[in-house]
């Protein structure tokens, strides 16, 4: 075969080292955050109290920050750094040095923020909404994480730019293109969170100013908060579009379709932050409605992705002789953890996406807003679709980077891990969805609300969440066992870094997809249109600012 030479390409060991550094931080965050998640479900069941006067909102902050911010950002940066090295060529020394500087900046920032949370000086939850006020070191730590991630991302962009220069007029390797889209999305999105932290929260927590404009800071946060979830999701899509086809022995359905859907995500995932603020006063409903319309545009690339994945699977199945409407489903390689674990993630995206459409439906948001339904929703999107795909990636990428092999035993354990996670999540997320429809609040320790009848209805669901949480925690232990095995103990060998090929390789992607001036221009135009007038409105009609509150 012609492509067997290509598939043997290895990530350079010097690049592998930097990727692995990211993964160590990510998996430590998973261990810590996972323990907190278990404790949360136990507390909320009403059968268990935290020892030593530890506050519920402190552990909830640890969980949200470790899982939502640290695990995701470090894993994604490590994965994309390796993916660019694998497909666009080994990073130059300058790019690698840039990557290391970014990594250490992020790590130092993480350590600062985590220390303040653990000292109970920053129990502000992972969204750090004003007027809750954390210690200034927490905000400074977050600033370093963001700035570090920009430097880290610059390494990927440098190598992509080098490839483009050496291959004029040719479309870049698909995986590198996708990584760069996601990095650009991240940089544009984090400008908002950097603005609120630097200009509002940091001076305010230092005592340089007394009050903060709450709505401005929340608006800047959600300018960042929605693209944040796409920043988590796109690396999973990278795996689904380009890596899974290779693992099953099929082809990428269409290279151009994949690129187009990534560009649509870049365009439509940023100017939509108001859909997290639909119940918030102070924002003109007309502008909320406009951003809701843009939100629904994201349905298009999502369904394009679903179609293209089904098509990849069906084409592969039929090439193996499967017949009938769904015969192809049975011949998929269910015994391969590299396929099955991400596949469970993909399947979970069906209920996750349906829930998202409900959340975004302007008026219907009132049914679910701030209920535990929302938590159930993002434990399907982030904590199942995304992280199971990340785990599935780890099962070949870690041994690839450490020069080891995924053994049969570990492959089997990986499959068990995926199903354990799935079962735990059916209980936990399922119960969260139903409890939320009955009005049960999120971000709340156990309470009977003074013996209220409605609150009593929630308790059985909270017990079901504790059952699910315990099963999920077992899933986390399995992941950690596999990670440690693959990083340090698995037998030496060569594990493939799978990269798929398009069904029609001679049909190369249109060069307009690489026209960054065009796409960044449209992105900026949409953002300016969606935010300028409402933002001026918010500032001009601002109520008096708020002093800081510490509720813990």
């Amino acid at each position: 075969m012609v492509n067997s030479a290509v598939s043997k390409i290895k990530v350079d060991p010097r690049d592998a080292k930097l990727s692995m550094a990211h993964f160590y931080v990510a998996f430590i965050a998973l261990a810590l955050g996972g323990l907190m998640g278990l404790l949360q479900t136990l507390v909320r069941s009403g059968k268990y109290e935290l020892p030593g006067g530890i506050g519920y909102y402190q552990i909830l902050t640890v969980h949200g920050v470790m899982m939502g911010l640290v695990l995701t950002t470090f894993f994604i940066m490590g994965f994309q750094y390796a993916a660019v090295s694998r497909t666009a060529g080994t990073h130059s020394n300058a790019a690698r040095r840039t990557g290391w500087i970014g990594f250490w900046t992020m790590t130092a920032g993480t350590a600062m923020a985590a220390t303040m949370v653990l000292l109970n000086k920053a129990s502000v939850l992972y969204t750090f909404y004003a007027p809750l006020q954390a210690h200034w070191i927490f905000y400074l730590g977050l600033t370093l994480v963001v700035v570090g991630s920009w430097i880290d991302g610059a390494a990927q962009i440098m190598t992509y730019a080098k490839w483009r220069k050496n291959n004029p007029g040719k479309p870049s390797p698909l995986l590198s293109f996708m990584a760069v889209i996601n990095t650009v999305l991240w940089i544009v999105a984090t400008l908002g969170v950097a603005a609120t932290v630097l200009f509002q929260l940091l001076p305010w927590s230092l005592g340089l100013v007394d009050t903060v404009d709450v709505l401005v800071s929340r608006t800047l946060f959600w300018y960042f908060g929605h693209p944040l979830v796409y920043f988590w999701l796109l690396p999973a899509y990278m795996c689904w579009y380009t890596i899974i086809p290779k693992i099953i022995g099929g082809k990428i359905f269409s290279d151009s379709l994949a690129r187009l859907s990534f560009i649509l995500f870049l365009l439509f995932s940023i100017p939509v932050g108001f859909h997290h603020q639909l119940t918030e006063p102070g924002i003109d409903p007309a502008w909320k409605f406009f951003q809701v319309v843009l939100t629904f545009m994201v349905v298009i690339p999502s369904l394009m992705t679903a179609f293209s994945l089904f098509a990849t699977f069906e084409r592969y199945g039929r090439s193996k002789g499967a017949t009938g409407l769904f015969g192809w489903f049975k011949v998929l390689p269910w015994g391969d953890a590299r396929f099955t674990v991400p596949f469970i993630g993909m399947a979970s995206f069906i209920p996750a996406g349906a829930g998202g459409i409900i959340n975004a439906s302007n008026q219907m948001d009132q049914v679910v807003h701030n209920t535990i339904w929302i938590t159930g929703h993002f434990h399907l999107t982030a904590a199942t679709s995304v992280v199971l795909t990340f785990f599935g990636i780890s099962y070949w990428l870690i041994p690839h980077l450490t020069g080891r092999k995924l053994t049969k035993a570990m492959n089997k354990l990986g499959i068990i891990q995926g199903w354990v996670w799935f079962i735990g999540m059916v209980f936990m997320s399922g119960a969260m969805h139903f409890e939320g429809l009955l009005g049960g609040p999120r971000r709340s320790a156990f309470s009977t609300y003074g013996g209220a009848k409605q609150a009593a209805e929630w308790i059985p669901y909270q017990i079901a969440q504790a059952v699910g949480g315990s099963i999920l925690f077992l899933g986390i232990i399995l992941v950690l066992i596999i990670f440690i095995n693959l990083a340090f103990f698995a037998p030496k060998g060569e594990e493939e870094f799978p990269v798929g090929e398009a069904e029609n390789p001679q049909e190369s992607a249109p060069m307009v997809f690489e026209n960054w001036k065009l796409w960044l221009g449209i992105t900026a135009a949409l953002i300016l249109f969606a935010y300028t007038i409402p933002f001026i409105d918010i500032i001009q009609n601002a109520p008096p600012g708020s002093k800081g509150f510490k509720t813990w």
Partner: protein, 49 residues
């Protein structure tokens, strides 16, 4: 023995291997699922607000 058995079960009907009708059915099912969940919560909304 085994060979003979295989032969009798052999299908003569030939399916086009490039067919994507399973994909079409899958996206339709996906669409119905989205509509059903959406409408159920919509009913809750109409009842409550």
């Amino acid at each position: 023995m085994a060979k003979a058995e295989l032969k009798t079960k052999h299908k003569t009907e030939i399916e086009d291997s490039s067919s994507l009708k399973g994909t079409l059915a899958s996206v339709f099912l996906l669409g119905f699922f989205i509509i059903i969940t959406w409408v159920s919560v919509y009913y809750l909304f109409v009842e409550r607000f």
